[in-house]
Amino acid sequence: MRMRTLITTFGPDPENTLAAMRAISYERLALVLSEDDLNTQAQKIIRKIEEDSRGEIDNIFVDQYDLKDCFRRIVDYVLRILSIEHGDAHEAASLCINISGGSKIMGDAALIAAIHTGVRAFHCEKDKIIKFPVIEGVTLKDRLSDSQLAILKEIGAFDSLEDISRKMGSRLTDETIKKSLRKLKKMGIVKTQIREGGIFAELTESGIFILETINRLERGRSSAPGK
């Protein structure tokens, strides 16, 4: 069954989370929180509200000091909901993410997760609701072409053009590989170096993280956090 789900970052001060719960209509609440935020006064308030309204709460536990961990766990949760209940990762209309609760790291991670999964994102405060200009239903993967994705997945540590061409086999022409590499470089995913014997390419630090995210988006339902 498809349920409207509000994912919200959450911390010791519940006010911004409560603002999101007032502003956004939902049937299931998912709290992005650290283990330290369990059984706090703030969490008891939220739990009481959901118990009284017979609502469901999912807990997405994160390391609140680790932006990558927060990002990965929120993405995994979004993908699990989309794949289980929607059967189509692009149908994100009944999901939304509020980034105003909890720590700054959680909020920034949640915003990137919303952008990369194409899910609506809000910053809710007591008297202010901001809807971010996230383009709904469009994921990070959709922003790359098929040839760019193919190269991204095959590129190793300082591969030469010949190495990449060999890995691609008959899938891509040398001209397409060069064009795609130029574009990937422009997007900050790949860096190139001219050495003796030609041009060599490898993923940047950001490129490694982007590839990991794309793999995650493709795997969809794996690594989902428990309730």
């Binding site: 209309a93 700054k104 920034d108 200009p133 383009i135 990070l140 959709d142 997007m187 950001s206 990991e212």
Partner: protein, 215 residues
């Protein structure tokens, strides 16, 4: 030569690692709040840069909680430097209030600027997985043109109907209906009944889509 952008709160250590790790810096531009602690942190960064002989522009934010105001300001600054041919090496979003950091992250996403966060405990730099390409490029040229026309008419207080949009673009009503449906499903526009003719629907931009399109 390249430019570093950053947000700064009360901890200079949130910005210093980026200044140290970036090569060939032309200038450091950072945004901070007006309270005493923030000013102390600003002075530390200014001294640090001056000692390294790096030009530095501290930008005081009038309201460090005005997320959209800060996002607009930062985006405009990024565009201005890009327009002057400056290469933005990195934007460090670790410092400042939570709305300031989110605003900077939003501006970086929209403009396709490489972005880092500095770990609170270890001071390690974490490169964020953002593409260095303008976010609005997700939309087709046609979609961006339609949004631009909707915005201009909205600014004049004269929102357009689908039929009027079809007339402006010289396409059939069915074609424009397709574009409007697409834009609606992407969450960038919404429809409201025309108060003068309830059968007609007026097309408006979602409030923050203005920022997506830029000036």
């Amino acid at each position: 030569m390249s430019i570093i952008f950053g947000t700064l709160g009360h901890r200079p250590q949130s910005l210093i690692p980026t200044i140290k790790s970036t090569e060939d810096i032309e200038r450091v531009i950072f945004y901070y709040g007006g309270d005493d602690e923030a000013k102390k942190a600003r002075d530390v960064i200014v001294d640090f840069c001056k000692n390294l002989r790096i030009p530095v522009d501290p930008v005081e934010l009038p309201d460090v909680f005005d997320l959209m105001g800060i996002a607009k300001r930062i985006r405009n600054d990024i565009r201005e430097w890009k327009g002057r041919g400056g290469r933005i090496a990195i934007f460090n979003i670790a410092g400042g209030t939570r709305p300031t950091s989110s605003a900077a992250l939003l501006a970086c996403t929209l403009e396709g600027v490489p972005t880092v966060y500095v770990h609170d405990l270890t001071n390690d730099e974490i490169v964020l997985p953002l593409l260095e390409i303008e976010y609005s490029r997700i939309l087709s040229k046609k979609e961006r043109k339609i949004l631009d026309i909707i915005r201009k008419n909205g600014d004049r207080g004269k929102p357009l109907s689908e039929i009027e949009l079809a007339r402006i673009f010289g396409v059939t009503k069915a074609t424009m209906n397709y574009h409007v449906k697409q834009l609606r499903s992407k969450g960038v526009i919404f429809l409201t009944p025309d108060p003068e003719d309830m059968r007609r629907k007026l097309v408006s931009l979602q409030p923050t889509v203005d920022l997506l399109l830029g000036e």
